[in-house]
Subunit: 311 residues, 2 copies
């Protein structure tokens, strides 16, 4: 295998109740990447289409993640790699743009090297890219990108990822308002300390959400999608947040919240038809504003990164 | 049916990571209660053996819970009830003494009335007794007493209980040091606000504990038994807490912590043999102190309150 083309999916982190620990993977929203072996040793980013991002491997999340992997590869390589990145996920959208690049490149390299690394190790490498992007080696987007489905970051040091089961007919509708919220700012707005009583409600919901995934209980899943901690702060940064959420629920969505650190708003629906109706509803709200926006509908992706072609 | 004799089990609340929401039910530690119909209307407590507790139904948790149930019973009764309580669980031990009395009596009344109420309604009534005992209508002990196994109090208002699956071969070893910690004092020692970072670790553990129960993963279950929030404060009130916990883990226990608001310390083990070895280990630590103590070993009880006999 000399070349691999992959689909690197967008992801939703936090999922209302699971700030910094829960995430899930999208089926039909994501970047594409090509990684190929080269005679020249080392790594180069040779192409980035769709967004203006640094080509310098030390300043690009994919480059940093790739370097982290190659540092741990024990054998001497008599070849190198070049990376092409076709960005569809907008940086700063809150649906795991940097995570897709970081996770995608390490997945591709692992394939080209005959899979020396486990999924957990790939998350380890990818989160070095996240560290460059947001200042923390956060794993709640890269984990679902690599594992697929729903994931729980059980521990960060040492890293431990729990693969959660998936509701079969689960779709997400996401609106990305074209405003900029920096992850660092979205973190700075959060209090260092929270009320114990609010935290109790939050961990009750994390527990019941995990139970709902195991028991295929859409109602309990819906009832667990409540965020007592982060949403009250961050939602103020997002235009029409409350109206979008309320209208989506009225249109049949199971629940929703802020995707990652925003500004995207995600909602979950049972089945594609409701997800599309929710999309129409949300669209009509944003069309009355001056904000540009994108709307995405996607099934939840059980497998994570996908191989498009190999040569 | 004119008379029912039941076993009202002890329970462990909190279970390390799940402060105020998680609980589980014991198989071989608990009270016995007899409730029988009487010609005289109303409720009376006619006997309390084992502990000095109020016979006045308005001052006794079982009385208060029974009254809560009867207030919701729609039909007119031309008879009354008398209650006998045989206490084995010491009040203030932290293993659900008041919950056993409150849950036991409402279960018994429901049987004598041909089961007009659901389990959830029984928890509702029983937690009125808890309100008398500790100032809060807390459900994390009465829920596992009534449902059995592991339970999650998903919401308190309206009350919602999630029945979690059980690890088949799970035993608990509990030491009850004979010191008094009032629930109100154990609550007062807790901070109103906690660090967001600690809360994140806690809800990651609640999520992974629920996942571990579903997947029968004893190792993940063990790794989830960590309390970043409450134990650092309350453990100071319990003599030899750290030593007991460390030695229990060394002896093969999966994990442990403070049972409810203490002073009892619980540990979990896979199988009876390890649970007994853990008991010996803990015993040898406390025998070197001046504290009196009781040690209990019990399987986790999948069914909750049991009927001993009916007449």
């Amino acid at each position: 295998m000399n070349e691999i083309k992959i689909f690197a999916p967008a992801t939703i982190a936090n999922i209302s109740c699971g700030f910094d620990v829960l995430g899930c993977c999208l089926e039909s929203v994501g970047d594409e990447m090509i990684v190929r072996k080269t005679q020249d040793k080392g790594i180069k980013i040779t192409k980035i289409i769709g967004e203006e991002l640094p080509m310098d491997i030390h300043k690009n999340v994919a480059g940093v993640a790739a370097l982290a992997l190659l540092r741990k590869y024990s054998k001497n390589l008599d070849f190198g790699f070049e990376i092409e990145i076709y960005k569809n996920i907008k940086p700063g959208s809150g649906i795991g743009s940097s995570a897709a690049s970081a996770a995608g490149v390490v997945f591709a390299l692992n394939e080209l090297l005959n899979k020396p690394f486990s999924k957990l190790e790939l998350v380890e490498f990818a989160r070095k890219g996240e560290e460059l992007a947001c200042g923390y080696p956060i794993a709640d987007n890269v984990a679902p990108a690599i594992y697929g489905g729903f994931t729980l970051v059980k521990n960060t040091d040492p890293l431990r990822i729990v693969e959660l089961p998936l509701l079969d007919n689960l779709y997400t509708t996401i609106i990305h308002p074209q405003i900029e919220i920096k992850t660092a700012d979205a973190r700075a707005i959060l209090p260092n300390k929270i009320k114990l009583g609010d935290a109790v409600k939050q961990w009750a919901n994390v527990g019941s959400l995990v139970h709902a995934l195991h028991t295929k209980d859409y109602n309990l899943f819906a009832d667990s999608l409540t965020d007592h901690i982060v949403e009250p702060y961050r939602s103020k940064l997002i235009p029409k947040f409350e109206k979008v959420k309320k209208s989506a629920l009225k249109a049949g969505a199971l629940g929703g919240g802020i995707s990652g650190s925003g500004p995207s708003i995600f909602t979950f629906s049972k089945g594609n038809q409701i997800a599309e109706y929710v999309a129409d509803t949300i669209k009509s709200i944003y069309q009355k504003t001056n904000f540009d926006f994108n709307i995405y509908i996607s099934k939840i992706n059980p497998e994570g990164i996908k191989i498009i072609s190999i040569h």
